[in-house]
Protein backbone atom coordinates (compact mmCIF):
# COMPACT_ATOMS: atom_id res chain seq x y z
CA UNK A 1 0.00 0.00 0.00
CA UNK A 2 2.81 2.32 0.96
CA UNK A 3 4.78 1.47 -2.15
CA UNK A 4 1.69 2.15 -4.20
CA UNK A 5 1.28 5.59 -2.64
CA UNK A 6 4.94 6.34 -3.34
CA UNK A 7 4.57 5.30 -6.98
CA UNK A 8 1.46 7.45 -7.30
CA UNK A 9 3.30 10.48 -5.92
CA UNK A 10 6.28 9.92 -8.24
CA UNK A 11 3.98 9.48 -11.22
CA UNK A 12 2.18 12.70 -10.32
CA UNK A 13 5.49 14.56 -10.12
CA UNK A 14 6.58 13.16 -13.47
CA UNK A 15 3.31 14.10 -15.15
CA UNK A 16 3.37 17.58 -13.70
CA UNK A 17 6.98 18.20 -14.75
CA UNK A 18 6.22 17.03 -18.29
CA UNK A 19 4.01 20.02 -18.96
CA UNK A 20 6.77 22.46 -18.05
CA UNK A 21 8.84 21.15 -20.95
CA UNK A 22 6.48 22.25 -23.70
CA UNK A 23 8.67 23.22 -26.66
CA UNK A 24 5.85 24.53 -28.80
CA UNK A 25 4.28 27.85 -27.84
CA UNK A 26 2.08 27.99 -30.96
CA UNK A 27 -1.41 29.34 -30.49
CA UNK A 28 -3.94 28.77 -33.22
CA UNK A 29 -6.59 31.39 -34.02
CA UNK A 30 -9.53 29.30 -32.77
CA UNK A 31 -9.89 26.66 -30.02
CA UNK A 32 -11.07 24.15 -32.63
CA UNK A 33 -7.95 24.67 -34.76
CA UNK A 34 -5.84 24.54 -31.61
CA UNK A 35 -7.35 21.16 -30.69
CA UNK A 36 -6.71 19.74 -34.18
CA UNK A 37 -3.22 21.25 -34.27
CA UNK A 38 -2.30 19.61 -30.98
CA UNK A 39 -3.81 16.31 -32.10
CA UNK A 40 -1.83 16.27 -35.34
CA UNK A 41 1.47 17.44 -33.89
CA UNK A 42 1.23 14.67 -31.30
CA UNK A 43 0.62 11.94 -33.84
CA UNK A 44 3.39 12.91 -36.28
CA UNK A 45 6.83 11.56 -35.57
CA UNK A 46 9.91 13.75 -35.48
CA UNK A 47 11.97 11.98 -38.13
CA UNK A 48 15.25 13.15 -36.66
CA UNK A 49 14.64 11.89 -33.13
CA UNK A 50 12.17 9.18 -34.13
CA UNK A 51 10.75 8.46 -30.71
CA UNK A 52 9.35 11.92 -30.12
CA UNK A 53 6.32 13.58 -31.63
CA UNK A 54 6.96 16.82 -33.51
CA UNK A 55 4.98 18.54 -30.73
CA UNK A 56 7.60 17.57 -28.16
CA UNK A 57 10.79 17.88 -30.13
CA UNK A 58 13.10 20.89 -29.94
CA UNK A 59 14.95 20.14 -33.21
CA UNK A 60 14.49 22.56 -36.07
CA UNK A 61 12.96 20.06 -38.49
CA UNK A 62 10.16 19.44 -35.97
CA UNK A 63 9.58 23.20 -35.80
CA UNK A 64 9.41 23.34 -39.61
CA UNK A 65 6.92 20.48 -39.70
CA UNK A 66 4.80 22.17 -37.01
CA UNK A 67 4.81 25.32 -39.14
CA UNK A 68 3.64 23.21 -42.08
CA UNK A 69 0.79 21.71 -40.01
CA UNK A 70 -0.22 25.15 -38.73
CA UNK A 71 -0.24 26.69 -42.19
CA UNK A 72 -2.18 23.83 -43.73
CA UNK A 73 -4.83 23.93 -40.99
CA UNK A 74 -5.21 27.69 -41.28
CA UNK A 75 -5.52 27.26 -45.04
CA UNK A 76 -8.55 25.07 -44.36
CA UNK A 77 -7.02 21.64 -45.00
CA UNK A 78 -8.48 18.64 -43.21
CA UNK A 79 -6.57 16.48 -40.73
CA UNK A 80 -6.36 13.76 -43.37
CA UNK A 81 -4.95 16.23 -45.90
CA UNK A 82 -2.15 16.97 -43.45
CA UNK A 83 -1.51 13.27 -42.75
CA UNK A 84 -1.50 12.44 -46.47
CA UNK A 85 0.87 15.33 -47.17
CA UNK A 86 3.33 14.07 -44.57
CA UNK A 87 3.07 10.41 -45.59
CA UNK A 88 3.61 11.30 -49.26
CA UNK A 89 6.94 12.90 -48.33
CA UNK A 90 8.18 10.97 -45.33
CA UNK A 91 6.41 7.63 -45.62
CA UNK A 92 4.19 5.72 -43.18
CA UNK A 93 6.93 5.95 -40.61
CA UNK A 94 5.99 9.53 -39.80
CA UNK A 95 2.69 8.35 -38.35
CA UNK A 96 2.92 7.00 -34.82
CA UNK A 97 -0.30 5.11 -35.48
CA UNK A 98 0.44 2.95 -38.53
CA UNK A 99 -2.25 2.79 -41.18
CA UNK A 100 -3.99 -0.47 -42.05
CA UNK A 101 -2.44 -1.67 -45.29
CA UNK A 102 -1.34 -5.01 -46.70
CA UNK A 103 2.04 -4.42 -45.06
CA UNK A 104 0.68 -3.55 -41.62
CA UNK A 105 -2.27 -5.96 -41.53
CA UNK A 106 -0.33 -8.52 -39.48
CA UNK A 107 0.57 -5.77 -37.03
CA UNK A 108 -3.04 -4.69 -36.56
CA UNK A 109 -4.37 -8.24 -36.38
CA UNK A 110 -1.68 -9.40 -33.92
CA UNK A 111 -3.52 -8.35 -30.72
CA UNK A 112 -6.67 -10.22 -31.78
CA UNK A 113 -4.71 -13.30 -32.85
CA UNK A 114 -2.72 -13.28 -29.61
CA UNK A 115 -5.92 -12.87 -27.61
CA UNK A 116 -7.46 -15.88 -29.39
CA UNK A 117 -4.34 -17.97 -28.72
CA UNK A 118 -4.43 -16.91 -25.07
CA UNK A 119 -8.12 -17.76 -24.80
CA UNK A 120 -7.54 -21.19 -26.37
CA UNK A 121 -4.73 -21.91 -23.92
CA UNK A 122 -6.85 -20.71 -21.00
CA UNK A 123 -9.78 -22.92 -22.03
CA UNK A 124 -7.49 -25.92 -22.41
CA UNK A 125 -5.81 -25.41 -19.06
CA UNK A 126 -9.11 -24.92 -17.18
CA UNK A 127 -10.55 -28.04 -18.82
CA UNK A 128 -7.50 -30.05 -17.82
CA UNK A 129 -7.68 -28.75 -14.25
CA UNK A 130 -11.40 -29.54 -14.09
CA UNK A 131 -10.62 -33.06 -15.27
CA UNK A 132 -7.97 -33.37 -12.56
CA UNK A 133 -10.51 -32.45 -9.90
CA UNK A 134 -12.88 -35.11 -11.26
CA UNK A 135 -10.19 -37.75 -11.00
CA UNK A 136 -9.10 -36.62 -7.59
CA UNK A 137 -12.23 -37.59 -5.65
CA UNK A 138 -10.92 -41.06 -4.76
CA UNK A 139 -10.13 -41.56 -1.08
CA UNK A 140 -6.43 -41.07 -0.37
CA UNK A 141 -6.17 -44.35 1.53
CA UNK A 142 -7.21 -46.27 -1.50
CA UNK A 143 -4.34 -44.73 -3.48
CA UNK A 144 -1.87 -45.86 -0.85
CA UNK A 145 -3.32 -49.35 -0.58
CA UNK A 146 -3.42 -49.86 -4.31
CA UNK A 147 0.17 -48.84 -4.83
Amino acid sequence: MRAFALIAVLAAILLASGTTYAVDPTEMPTPELQRRYLGLTHELRCMQCQNEAIADSPVSLAADLRRQVREMLIAGKSDDDVRNYMVARYGDFILFRPRVSSRTLWLWSAPGVLLLIGAAVAVRVTRQRAALVDQDNEPVEEDIRSS
Binding site: M47, Q48, D64, L65, Q68, V87, R89, Y90, G91
Partner: protein, 179 residues
Protein backbone atom coordinates in the same frame (compact mmCIF):
# COMPACT_ATOMS: atom_id res chain seq x y z
CA UNK B 1 7.38 -35.30 -23.39
CA UNK B 2 4.21 -34.34 -25.19
CA UNK B 3 3.64 -31.23 -23.09
CA UNK B 4 6.95 -29.75 -24.29
CA UNK B 5 6.05 -30.08 -27.95
CA UNK B 6 3.57 -27.18 -28.09
CA UNK B 7 5.68 -24.58 -26.21
CA UNK B 8 8.76 -25.60 -28.18
CA UNK B 9 6.82 -25.36 -31.41
CA UNK B 10 5.54 -21.90 -30.48
CA UNK B 11 9.05 -20.83 -29.52
CA UNK B 12 10.49 -22.10 -32.79
CA UNK B 13 7.78 -20.33 -34.78
CA UNK B 14 8.38 -17.05 -32.93
CA UNK B 15 12.13 -17.39 -33.44
CA UNK B 16 11.64 -17.90 -37.18
CA UNK B 17 9.21 -14.97 -37.54
CA UNK B 18 11.41 -12.60 -35.54
CA UNK B 19 14.51 -13.87 -37.34
CA UNK B 20 12.96 -13.03 -40.71
CA UNK B 21 11.96 -9.63 -39.34
CA UNK B 22 15.51 -8.86 -38.24
CA UNK B 23 17.02 -10.12 -41.48
CA UNK B 24 14.72 -8.05 -43.64
CA UNK B 25 14.60 -4.87 -41.60
CA UNK B 26 16.83 -2.16 -42.93
CA UNK B 27 19.29 -0.20 -40.96
CA UNK B 28 17.06 1.67 -38.54
CA UNK B 29 18.80 4.94 -39.34
CA UNK B 30 17.68 4.96 -42.95
CA UNK B 31 14.03 5.20 -43.82
CA UNK B 32 12.99 4.40 -47.39
CA UNK B 33 11.76 7.44 -49.28
CA UNK B 34 8.23 7.33 -50.68
CA UNK B 35 9.47 9.67 -53.43
CA UNK B 36 11.33 6.90 -55.26
CA UNK B 37 9.62 6.36 -58.59
CA UNK B 38 7.68 9.63 -58.28
CA UNK B 39 8.19 13.03 -59.80
CA UNK B 40 10.80 15.14 -58.03
CA UNK B 41 9.09 17.97 -56.13
CA UNK B 42 9.15 21.23 -58.05
CA UNK B 43 10.27 24.51 -56.57
CA UNK B 44 11.81 27.85 -57.40
CA UNK B 45 14.49 29.18 -55.08
CA UNK B 46 17.19 31.85 -55.25
CA UNK B 47 20.59 30.71 -56.44
CA UNK B 48 23.05 30.93 -53.57
CA UNK B 49 25.92 32.34 -55.61
CA UNK B 50 23.77 34.90 -57.38
CA UNK B 51 20.54 35.66 -55.55
CA UNK B 52 19.24 37.75 -58.42
CA UNK B 53 18.75 34.47 -60.27
CA UNK B 54 16.44 31.59 -59.37
CA UNK B 55 16.78 27.87 -59.85
CA UNK B 56 14.06 25.34 -60.51
CA UNK B 57 14.47 21.59 -61.16
CA UNK B 58 12.48 22.18 -64.35
CA UNK B 59 15.61 23.95 -65.66
CA UNK B 60 17.26 20.51 -65.76
CA UNK B 61 14.44 18.74 -67.58
CA UNK B 62 15.90 16.19 -69.94
CA UNK B 63 19.08 15.72 -67.92
CA UNK B 64 20.11 13.39 -65.16
CA UNK B 65 21.09 15.23 -62.01
CA UNK B 66 22.19 14.58 -58.46
CA UNK B 67 20.35 16.54 -55.78
CA UNK B 68 22.42 16.93 -52.64
CA UNK B 69 20.97 18.43 -49.45
CA UNK B 70 23.57 20.06 -47.23
CA UNK B 71 24.21 22.86 -44.78
CA UNK B 72 27.23 24.40 -43.12
CA UNK B 73 25.86 23.33 -39.72
CA UNK B 74 25.94 19.70 -40.82
CA UNK B 75 28.93 17.62 -39.80
CA UNK B 76 28.22 14.81 -42.25
CA UNK B 77 28.22 17.36 -45.07
CA UNK B 78 31.77 18.43 -44.24
CA UNK B 79 32.66 14.76 -44.20
CA UNK B 80 31.27 14.06 -47.69
CA UNK B 81 32.57 17.25 -49.29
CA UNK B 82 35.82 15.73 -50.56
CA UNK B 83 33.84 12.91 -52.17
CA UNK B 84 31.53 15.42 -53.89
CA UNK B 85 34.52 17.31 -55.32
CA UNK B 86 35.95 14.02 -56.55
CA UNK B 87 32.63 12.93 -58.06
CA UNK B 88 32.36 16.23 -59.86
CA UNK B 89 35.64 15.47 -61.58
CA UNK B 90 34.59 12.02 -62.76
CA UNK B 91 31.04 12.54 -64.01
CA UNK B 92 29.15 14.82 -66.33
CA UNK B 93 25.97 14.49 -64.31
CA UNK B 94 25.42 17.87 -62.64
CA UNK B 95 25.40 18.12 -58.88
CA UNK B 96 22.64 20.37 -57.63
CA UNK B 97 22.96 21.54 -54.05
CA UNK B 98 20.13 22.44 -51.70
CA UNK B 99 21.57 24.63 -48.97
CA UNK B 100 19.18 23.70 -46.16
CA UNK B 101 18.35 26.18 -43.39
CA UNK B 102 21.60 28.01 -43.71
CA UNK B 103 22.99 31.51 -43.66
CA UNK B 104 23.99 32.61 -47.16
CA UNK B 105 27.33 34.23 -46.16
CA UNK B 106 28.43 31.14 -44.25
CA UNK B 107 27.44 28.87 -47.12
CA UNK B 108 29.35 31.04 -49.60
CA UNK B 109 32.39 30.98 -47.34
CA UNK B 110 32.15 27.17 -47.09
CA UNK B 111 32.13 26.86 -50.89
CA UNK B 112 35.01 29.26 -51.44
CA UNK B 113 37.14 27.61 -48.75
CA UNK B 114 36.42 23.95 -49.45
CA UNK B 115 35.71 24.16 -53.17
CA UNK B 116 32.39 24.15 -54.99
CA UNK B 117 31.34 20.79 -56.44
CA UNK B 118 27.90 22.07 -57.50
CA UNK B 119 26.68 23.26 -60.85
CA UNK B 120 24.09 25.27 -58.96
CA UNK B 121 23.10 25.67 -55.31
CA UNK B 122 19.56 26.62 -54.32
CA UNK B 123 19.15 28.44 -51.01
CA UNK B 124 16.35 26.86 -48.93
CA UNK B 125 16.64 29.31 -46.06
CA UNK B 126 13.35 28.39 -44.39
CA UNK B 127 13.56 24.65 -44.97
CA UNK B 128 10.29 24.46 -46.90
CA UNK B 129 11.69 22.74 -49.95
CA UNK B 130 13.52 20.17 -47.83
CA UNK B 131 10.13 19.16 -46.41
CA UNK B 132 8.77 18.79 -49.94
CA UNK B 133 11.62 16.36 -50.63
CA UNK B 134 11.02 14.47 -47.38
CA UNK B 135 14.45 15.37 -46.05
CA UNK B 136 14.88 14.55 -42.38
CA UNK B 137 18.62 14.77 -41.85
CA UNK B 138 21.41 16.18 -43.99
CA UNK B 139 23.27 15.05 -45.90
CA UNK B 140 20.81 13.32 -48.20
CA UNK B 141 21.46 12.75 -51.89
CA UNK B 142 18.87 12.02 -54.59
CA UNK B 143 19.34 10.83 -58.16
CA UNK B 144 16.81 12.23 -60.63
CA UNK B 145 16.37 10.98 -64.20
CA UNK B 146 15.75 13.05 -67.36
CA UNK B 147 11.98 12.69 -66.95
CA UNK B 148 12.25 14.29 -63.53
CA UNK B 149 11.59 11.03 -61.63
CA UNK B 150 13.42 10.36 -58.37
CA UNK B 151 15.35 7.14 -59.00
CA UNK B 152 17.34 6.73 -55.82
CA UNK B 153 18.00 8.31 -52.45
CA UNK B 154 21.16 7.96 -50.42
CA UNK B 155 21.07 8.94 -46.76
CA UNK B 156 24.18 10.00 -44.88
CA UNK B 157 27.60 11.25 -45.99
CA UNK B 158 28.22 10.24 -49.59
CA UNK B 159 31.40 8.31 -50.29
CA UNK B 160 33.18 7.48 -53.55
CA UNK B 161 32.39 3.84 -52.89
CA UNK B 162 28.66 4.58 -52.52
CA UNK B 163 28.83 6.66 -55.70
CA UNK B 164 30.43 3.77 -57.60
CA UNK B 165 28.13 1.07 -56.23
CA UNK B 166 24.79 2.89 -55.95
CA UNK B 167 24.75 5.80 -58.40
CA UNK B 168 26.94 4.80 -61.34
CA UNK B 169 25.06 1.54 -62.08
CA UNK B 170 21.79 3.49 -62.26
CA UNK B 171 23.18 5.98 -64.75
CA UNK B 172 23.64 5.42 -68.47
CA UNK B 173 27.37 4.62 -68.92
CA UNK B 174 28.02 7.63 -71.14
CA UNK B 175 26.60 9.89 -68.40
CA UNK B 176 28.35 8.34 -65.42
CA UNK B 177 31.81 8.96 -66.84
CA UNK B 178 33.34 12.08 -68.21
CA UNK B 179 33.37 12.15 -71.98
Amino acid sequence: MNRFVLPLGVFALLAIVLGIGIKHSQDKGTIPSPLIGKAAPQFTLPVLTDTSRTFSPADLKGRWYVFNVWGTWCGGCRQEHEALLEIRKTTQVPLVGLDWKDEDPQALQWLSQLGNPYEVVAADREGRIAIEWGVYGAPETFLVDPQGIVVYKYIGPLTLEAWQTQFVPRLPPEQAGKS
